[in-house]
């Protein structure tokens, strides 16, 4: 039973090596700015969110009610510009309780954990979910299958963004 695995290189450094200046480092930070065109479908989605409504599109072939709305059904591959309002209530498909920020730093002592979830929205086809946050709920009470309702920002604070919905809370 011979070992012929070839391994070479990969010299480990410790945090101390870097802090103490033993290793020469160069820094740079990236400055990249983008202004994405939302396109027809998402433009409508965001405008409706600003008005406090969730809109979807329906495929004329397979009849799926698709969320987020798209101008074409990706399965039938036909255009779909039949717009349908759906409700702002739904069911939790899955959830998590997250103790770190987006940049991997831990949340502070006085900060509440994030509660991301996939929520199947009422009115859209089965399993048609969106990712959003949960709120006004004790994490220990969370269950897959729980019914939830969107909590919207006041009208004058909505800007046409997914964050116009603050979070979903249990009903």
């Amino acid at each position: 039973m011979e070992e012929k695995v070839k391994v070479s290189g990969g010299t480990g450094l410790s945090g101390e090596d870097i802090k103490s200046g033993k290793i020469f480092l160069m820094d740079d930070s990236l400055d990249c700015a983008y202004a994405w065109d939302t396109g027809v479908a998402i433009n409508r989605y965001l405008s409706e969110l600003q008005k406090g409504r969730i809109i979807a599109t329906k495929c004329r072939k397979c009849k799926r009610v698709m969320l987020p709305p798209r101008l074409f059904c990706e399965l039938c591959y036909v255009p779909s510009n039949h717009w349908v309002y759906v409700q702002d209530t739904g069911v939790i498909n899955t959830y998590s309780i997250c103790h770190v920020h987006w940049d991997a730093s831990r949340i502070g002592e006085n900060e509440k954990p994030y509660l991301p979830a996939v929520i199947e929205i009422d009115g859209a086809s089965d399993g048609m979910g969106i990712m959003h946050l949960l709120g006004e709920v004790d994490p220990d009470d969370l269950k897959i299958g729980m019914r939830v309702q969107a909590v919207w920002k006041p009208e004058n604070e909505r800007i046409g963004s997914i964050t116009d919905i603050k979070y979903f809370k249990p009903i």
Binding site: M26, C32, A35, D37, T38, G39, A41, R70, F72, Y77
Partner: protein, 387 residues
Amino acid sequence: MSKRVAIVGIGYSGFRTTSTDVSYREMIYEAATKCYEDAGGIHPQSIDSFVASSEDFMEGISIADEYVPDQLGAVLKPVQSIAGDSLQGLASAMMQIKTGELDLVTASAFSKVSNLSSYENVLAYATDPVYVRPFQENPYFIAGLEMNRYLYETGTTREQCAKVVVKNRYNALKNPVAVYGSKLDLDDILSAPPLCEPLGEFDKSGHLDGAIVLLLASEDKAKELTDKPIWIEGIGWATDTPNLDSRTDTLGGALYAELAGKKAYSMAGINTPYNEIDFAEIDDTFSYKELQHLEALKLCGPGEAGELLELGSFAPAGDLPVNVSGGSLGIGYLHEANGLQKVLETVMQLRGEAGPRQLEDVETGLAFAWRGVPTTTGTAIVLSNKG
């Protein structure tokens, strides 16, 4: 596997400097729909595999591959993304068919550069972080260095480079998708503000948004689908070093083009490119590039491109029409989709579908794309309508 591969469907959309009304996914959907229809009304679920070409930083998305499938109709299909020029993506599609395991493969790419508010920053991030970036120069300086060396080594003049711009932008007037078509004279270009001398503002092609989708098929499938298959006779790609200071060739040469061309010609059985290629779509991201590439691709002798241009050899009515489409200088620069634009024109010419730009009696065309500053990567493809 020596069976041939053909292009059987083409589709494109956008080709505007800004495309605020549509998202890139909607743009690709339009291009793909047209492509599949052009191929005889194929439903994408009957396509075996899909190849997209993109670069994360151009889109502001990490792992751009994630968002590829839906608009191509490729949900739950084999899909991959090549982080490279779209001609390399096309090469990958071709290789997949040549394995004998797949018959129909899509190659696609798009540019939504209008959404990138900090293009020159992103370009700078492609340069070496330790040896080049600290200078904080506008990355076009690399093109300036190259151009200067090229002029010095070959005796080509600034005026000859400017004539490339005149030719291509004038050719573009006959191309309905071209955005930068215009009738310029030499002075307009020579007196334009300098960029990174000797490169001037007009020596550089302008930005363009657009999406292109092509469908490739194995020989048997191609003959089933269309009576105008355009055969890929040969393809080759190569990369020289990314390091500015250690190019195999000098800064004035384009060894990557020579190597790519060599491989493509060898596959296509071409020994004298100047005689056997009827027309060419050659990367002209910068004016001097067209001349430099023509020489590296052996479509003329070393240092001769400038003179031959002045003699009219590369004009639409010349011996070897180059960039009748208008090239990037005339149409606009499509970034990752640049390579596919060259193929698009070549296919249209070989099919006889180039309208007012149509060249007479063409059988074999060459398309060549370069990845742009600061890369040394190029891909050459030989296409024909024979048999």
